[in-house]
């Protein structure tokens, strides 16, 4: 872009403790890099400094006021519309409210930073949203995204100047509410296979270990190997569309067991980037453990059982 069209004001947004805060890294598919986002809890204040830097010092820049907004929205456009590669909810401007486009704003807090006037020198302005309630956890799935961002807008007669900064929200639950009940299942194919398996519980934290075992009561199959997969299911309520993604594939048995064998299961979850279960009005995220038996002819036999993942404070 030529300097001619450059905006007269550079907006910088710096969150408090940005360098030291906890952050998450989310892979950005489009650019092949990972984004780093600071992590905030529910009810935590979001504060920082906005720096307005006048490009040519001494030259007056008129504006009709500067404001900052904290916005939370759910973006479901990915499935509702034909995706455009360049499109991003962030690049879309004010049309973010448009429910038709599949973006639903559930949080919008705005504060004025400057009244309308002229800006001669560069200026640092502190801002702080106190004890912001964040209802949903940030999420980036195949088709749905739950986003939180700060938006600084310099209103002008001409086009407004906007600066957006995303941050990440993680909500923590307590596991006390869930009773520990193992999952036991007894499945089989008549005269061919009969197994019993057991996972130690149904609710797991994200850093938990899935422990279980499988009893083979009858095997006439020539089993090649057996896997455990964690399937994450994204469901959009509006059109009941379901998107499964195989988050974990984990081989737990090699070769064909005989009657009476017990195969242990142990899967550490903490090493994987998992999301907790979510259930919103707009969509839901569920998890299923799938036990897959592959026989020597590469036929697959599987059984899924739902488990719940929860984010807890460590």
């Amino acid at each position: 872009m030529s300097s001619f069209f450059k905006p007269p004001i550079d907006i910088e947004l710096l969150l408090d403790g940005e360098e030291n805060r906890k952050y998450v890294e989310i892979p950005n598919k489009k650019q092949g890099i990972t984004d780093r986002f600071n992590v905030y809890d529910d009810g935590e204040s979001v504060s920082g400094i906005v720096t307005l830097r006048v490009r040519s010092e001494g030259k007056k820049v008129e504006h009709m006021g500067v404001k900052i907004s904290l916005i939370g929205c759910i973006d479901m456009r990915k499935n509702s519309e034909k995706r455009k590669s360049s499109e991003s909810p962030l690049s879309s401007n004010d049309k973010a409210h448009d429910t038709k486009s599949g973006v639903d704003q559930f949080l919008c807090l705005t504060a004025d930073l400057l009244p309308s006037g002229e800006l001669v020198h560069s200026q640092n302005i502190k801002f702080s949203f106190k004890d912001v309630e964040k209802r949903y956890e940030s999420y980036k799935g195949t088709n749905v995204e739950v986003m939180y961002y700060l938006k600084v807008t310099v209103l002008r007669k001409a086009a407004d100047l906007v600066k957006i900064k995303r941050f990440w929200v993680q909500l923590y639950e307590s596991m006390e509410n869930y009773e520990i009940k193992p999952i036991r299942l007894d499945i089989g194919i008549e005269n061919c296979l009969h197994i019993e398996f057991e996972y130690s519980k149904q609710h797991y934290t994200l850093s938990d270990v899935i422990v279980g075992r499988i009893y083979f009561l009858l095997t006439r199959l020539k089993i090649k190997h057996m896997e455990l997969s964690l399937i994450t299911r994204e469901k959009i309520n509006r059109n009941n569309k379901i998107f499964d993604s195989n988050t974990i594939r984990y081989e737990i048995m090699d070769g064909s067991p005989v009657k009476g064998e017990t195969i242990p299961i142990r899967l550490f979850l903490s090493g994987y980037d998992l999301v907790p279960n979510m259930n919103l009005n707009y969509f839901s995220v569920k998890h299923y453990l799938s036990l897959v038996i592959i026989d020597e002819d590469s036929r697959r036999y599987f059984k899924q059982s739902e488990i719940f993942l929860h984010r807890t404070r460590d």
Binding site: I223, T247, Y250, E251, M253, D254, R266, F268
Partner: protein
């Protein structure tokens, strides 16, 4: 979607070569990362390397090759992990970290590597780690991969199990270790067994082979297990380890596995533990799958126990004493009973087992009892009883089975003779068990002997065998073994008791039942056996002999082909002789005379039986030639035995008996000896015996003539009645010795000192005259001449020996003159012959004539010098001695010959009695003369003979009848009064001879 795990999900290589290459490459990469402390990358490469082990297409060998390489690489990693443990990483973290690997096999290998490294760190939660690792290993159910993984686990954690731990929780830790290894073992065995059932059916054999290649992996567990316990952990072993292992062994129902594992169990664990848990082990084998070779396992176990026993005995004396005492009292016998019980249960529960198995088992058990408790023969006996019954259950004994039976009975015994000696030696002489002489002092302690004599069922079993060849073979082996023993230690292995003899004889039965004529060698063995019969007490000894005799008779009846009596009785008789001699020396023995008589009667019966056997043989059924051969030898033998017995009786001053036997001999001679050649020999044989008898003429019989007179006259009479004239001549001049007793140094006689020699010069002269007459009447000049020289020889002998009253110088000179004239005639004849021959081929003839001349001169010279020497009589003693050696002293050579001829006969004492008289003096003498004839006269004699024959033939019409008449006449006279041969008779014959010559000469001239 890819996960965040460390490993790239790579696939394994298709070929072994590329797999090896890949492993090498990844190892290098891994090492590089480790030097740069990039652990995560190192894990990544390791994981890639481990992926090669997922290849399902590798054979066990190839897999092992890869495994070894990977093991080495993992060792590098492990070392790094240990070295950098607290500084750069914590092993707990790593233990979790490696579990993110998506594939189970690399994951478990990494886990074990990290976990095992962690074990080496002090204060690490060792037991938990181990438990976790072994639990997670269940995830690999593929047989080969699982086996190697678990083997890897064992290898990696070796350090932990080898390490001696702190004392506090030792027992608990030990139990854990045992539990750990046992669990691993059980799982591995399951996998191993499962390998058998993989793949298509037609590859079963291939699978079995592959499994055998892998067996060491499983066995390693048991080895490790045995290292964690000591001999003292009996309780742990018998309550904890063994039952679990055995249960696994039984339940896997796999032949390869069962055989191998039991073998390993037996080999690996300490002997003491085996002793304590014998029953468990044995019960286990009862429950094996039907195809498993029980015998193999048991044999293995027994060998182990035997080795243990031997080791124990090789230790120093004291230690052995203690342990042996304990074992023998508590366990030693108990052990056998355990096995015995086991054998019986096996018999009941497994009727399907082939006989072969039982044979092997019983064989092993025999070895066991022999090496542990050799003194208890009843054990052995019961084993044979078992075998006997077992054998009945299997009607058709196949070739195979027979082979095993053979092995059972035969091999064992050849061995045992040696083993027993060792063992018994150890038992007896604890103090000096390193002696060179490994022989036992008493036969009672020789097991071989004991088995045969005390195990009734041994014999039964042997006789119960269905194959005759084997029976015979075993039987012969037993006897040979006995003889060998006897040779090593003379006089120890004698049969002194009735049951011993019975047992041995029973064993010999197969030999008797063989209806083959080439059985002589085997029969000879029985004869040898009879020689071993001996008892200190004479009565008992006699009883033993009698019972043997009865036994032989019992066996002999109904057997017509075998010449059993012929083969066996001589040895029995010899044994009687020995006994008689012994008894004779014991003058104070009660009822000595009666017993002696009884024995002689027994001998008489034996001889009779030999003689009768011939009659049996003569039955028309039998083949002519063979039986006639047998006949002759039988008769001959009976004859000789009679004479020898008579000689013995004579020596013992039992003249009645002696006379009886002599007459028996005469009867046989008259009845049965028909062959002229043997007749002449037997006459000499008898003469020899008679000449040496001393007691026959001491006391007169009822008649005027003493027994001796009676006998010798008869002997001479028979001699004079022989068919051939040379035989007659020789017999008669030999018989002349019967009237001229010579000294027997063994009886304390000495020439010149002893006065009462039986000598009658007149009779001697008569005999000589008569023989000379016969000699002169021989048609063949050469042999006649020879006979005369022989007679001259005898005359000189008497002359030198002092009989100069009848055999005068004049007489001798006359004889010499006669010979000379005869020789002259001979010379002349030969000259004429040469001339006659010379017509044909003059030059040649001259040469030959000269040759012949030379030869004849030579011969004459020889004879002359001989006679000159004799005539001189200067060195009387020397001469007499010479004669003695040739005439009387032949016993030595005789006995030597006989002993070399047949081993069955034993030459007793000074050789006064020789059983076998085949080679008597006469034999030797005739042979010598034959030699002379051939040597002296060379080829020319043949021509002479033919000429003479011509002459004879032509003169037949004239002279022979006259001669015959005279002979007949003479015979009559001879019979009437032998001692009254007038002197003119001799002159007349001389004249007659001269006339004869003239006639001959004339006749010859005419013919020529």
């Amino acid at each position: 979607m890819t996960t965040a795990s460390n490993s790239n999900v790579t696939t394994y290589s298709n070929k072994l070569e590329s797999a090896i290459f890949n492993i090498k490459q990844q190892t290098i990469l891994m090492q590089r990362c480790l030097t740069q402390s990039r652990l995560m990358d190192a894990f990544k490469y390791t994981s890639a390397m481990l992926t090669e082990l997922r290849n399902p297409n590798l054979s066990p060998k190839q897999y092992y090759e890869l495994y070894i390489m990977i093991y080495d690489s993992m060792t590098i990693l492990s070392q790094y992990l240990i070295d950098n443990h607290p500084k750069k990483h914590h092993l707990t973290d790593l233990y979790e970290l490696v579990q993110y690997a998506g594939n189970i096999l690399p994951r478990l290998y990494l886990m074990i590597t990290v976990g095992a490294s962690f074990l080496t760190i002090p204060n690490s939660p060792k037991i938990e780690i181990l438990k976790d690792m072994i639990e997670m290993c269940r995830g690999v159910q593929h047989p080969i991969r699982g086996l190697f993984l678990r083997y890897y686990l064992m290898q990696r954690t070796k350090w932990f199990f080898d390490n001696v731990d702190d004392n506090a929780a030792e027992s608990e830790l030990k139990m854990f270790k045992i539990d750990f290894i046992t669990t691993n073992f059980i799982e591995m065995n399951k996998l191993w067994v499962r390998l058998q059932h993989q793949g298509p059916l037609r590859e079963r054999d291939l699978r079995t082979r592959e499994r055998k290649e892998l067996q060491v992996l499983i066995g390693a567990n048991l080895v490790r297990l045995s290292q964690t316990i000591t001999d003292k952990d009996v309780d742990i072993y018998s309550n904890n380890i063994l039952p679990r292992i055995l249960e696994q062994v039984i339940h896997c129902r796999d032949v390869v596995s069962q055989e191998y594992l039991l073998d390993v169990i037996i080999q690996v664990f300490p002997d003491e533990l085996h002793l304590k848990t014998l029953e468990q082990l044995l019960n286990c084998t009862l429950q094996l799958s039907p195809k498993s070779a029980i015998s193999k396992i048991i044999v293995c176990l027994i060998e182990r126990l035997n080795r243990y026993k031997n080791r124990e005995s090789d230790d120093e004396g004291r230690e052995f004493d203690v342990s042996a005492a304990i074992l023998n009292n508590d366990k030693g016998t108990g052990m056998f009973f355990t096995f015995w019980k086991y054998l019986n249960t096996l018999d009941e529960e497994r009727p399907d087992l082939p006989l072969k198995e039982f044979i092997l088992l019983v064989n092993a058990l025999l070895k066991l009892t022999i090496s542990w408790d050799a003194t208890n023969v009843s054990n052995i006996d019961s084993l044979f009883k078992f075998m006997l019954e077992k054998q009945k259950d299997y009607p058709s004994s196949q070739e195979n089975n027979l082979m095993y039976k053979q092995l059972l009975s035969l091999n064992k015994f050849t061995k045992y003779t040696a083993i027993n000696n060792n063992n018994n030696n150890n038992n007896n002489n604890n103090n000096n068990n390193n002696n060179e002489g490994k022989l036992c002092v008493d036969k009672k302690e020789n097991l071989f002997f004991n088995i045969i004599t005390k195990c009734n069922y041994y014999g039964c079993f042997l006789l119960g065998l269905k194959n005759k060849d084997i029976k015979l073979e075993i039987c012969c082996d037993i006897l040979t073994a006995l003889f060998e023993l006897n040779q090593l230690q003379p006089n120890v292995f004698r049969l002194t008791e009735k049951n011993e003899i019975n047992q041995f004889l029973q064993i010999c039965e197969p030999i008797l039942s063989i209806e083959d004529k080439s059985n002589a060698i085997n029969l000879e063995k029985i004869a040898k056996l009879i020689h071993l019969i001996y008892n200190v007490s004479i009565d008992e000894h006699y009883d033993l002999l009698t019972s043997t005799h009865l036994w032989i008779n019992a066996k002999n009846s109904g057997n017509s082909i075998n010449s059993i009596s012929f083969a066996i009785f001589p040895s029995l008789i010899t044994n009687y002789w020995k006994l008689i001699r012994k008894l004779y020396k014991m003058e104070k023995y009660q009822g000595r005379q009666m017993l002696l008589k009884q024995m002689f009667k027994s001998i008489a019966r034996c001889v009779n039986e030999i003689n009768e056997e011939r009659e049996l043989m003569n039955r028309p059924n039998n083949q002519q030639q063979q039986s006639s051969d047998n006949n002759n030898s039988n008769i001959d033998l009976a004859f000789k035995l009679n004479i020898q017995t008579a000689a013995l009786a004579d020596q013992l001053k039992l003249n009645e008996i002696s006379y009886d036997f002599f007459t028996q001999a005469f009867i046989i001679f008259e009845d049965a000896l028909t062959d002229s050649q043997t007749q002449s020999q037997r006459i000499l044989y008898m003469a020899q015996a008679l000449q040496k008898s001393r007691n026959l003429y001491n006391k007169n019989g009822t008649a005027n003539n003493s027994y001796y007179d009676n006998l010798i006259t008869r002997c001479t009479l028979h001699g004079s009645r022989l068919l051939q004239k040379p035989d007659q001549c020789r017999a008669v001049y030999s018989c002349s010795h019967l009237w001229w007793a010579t000294e027997l140094p063994t009886l304390g006689e000495e020439e010149g000192v002893t006065q009462n020699f039986y000598r009658d010069g007149k009779r001697v002269l008569e005999c000589l005259q008569r023989s000379l007459r016969v000699a002169d009447s021989v048609m063949d000049n050469v042999s006649g001449c020879e006979l005369m020289v022989e007679i001259l020889n005898v005359c000189l002998y008497y002359f030198i020996h002092g009989e100069s009253t009848h055999i005068t110088v004049k007489y001798i000179n006359g004889l010499i003159a006669l010979i000379k004239t005869n020789l002259q005639y001979l010379e002349r004849e030969s000259k004429q012959i040469s001339e006659y021959e010379g017509n044909g081929d003059f030059v040649d003839g001259v040469a030959r004539k000269e040759e012949r001349k030379e030869l004849e001169q030579q011969r004459e010279g020889e004879e002359e010098t001989e006679s000159m020497e004799e005539g001189r009589g200067g060195s009387q003693k020397q001469f007499s001695r010479e004669n003695l050696t040739s005439n009387i002293g032949y016993f030595g050579t005789n006995s030597a010959l006989s002993s070399s001829k047949s081993g069955a006969t034993i030459v007793e004492d000074s050789g006064a009695i020789s059983v076998d008289g085949h080679s008597s003096i006469t034999n030797g003498k005739t042979n010598k003369y034959c030699g002379n004839i051939n040597f002296g006269i060379d080829g020319s004699i043949i021509i002479d003979n033919s000429l003479n024959q011509n002459v004879n033939a032509s003169t037949n019409s004239n002279t022979p009848p006259v001669v015959n008449l005279t002979i007949l006449l003479k015979d009559n006279q001879f019979q009437k009064a032998y001692n009254k041969i007038p002197e003119q008779f001799f002159k007349r014959t001389l004249l007659y001879i001269k006339d004869q010559r003239k006639v001959d000469d004339r006749f010859k001239l005419i013919v020529l």
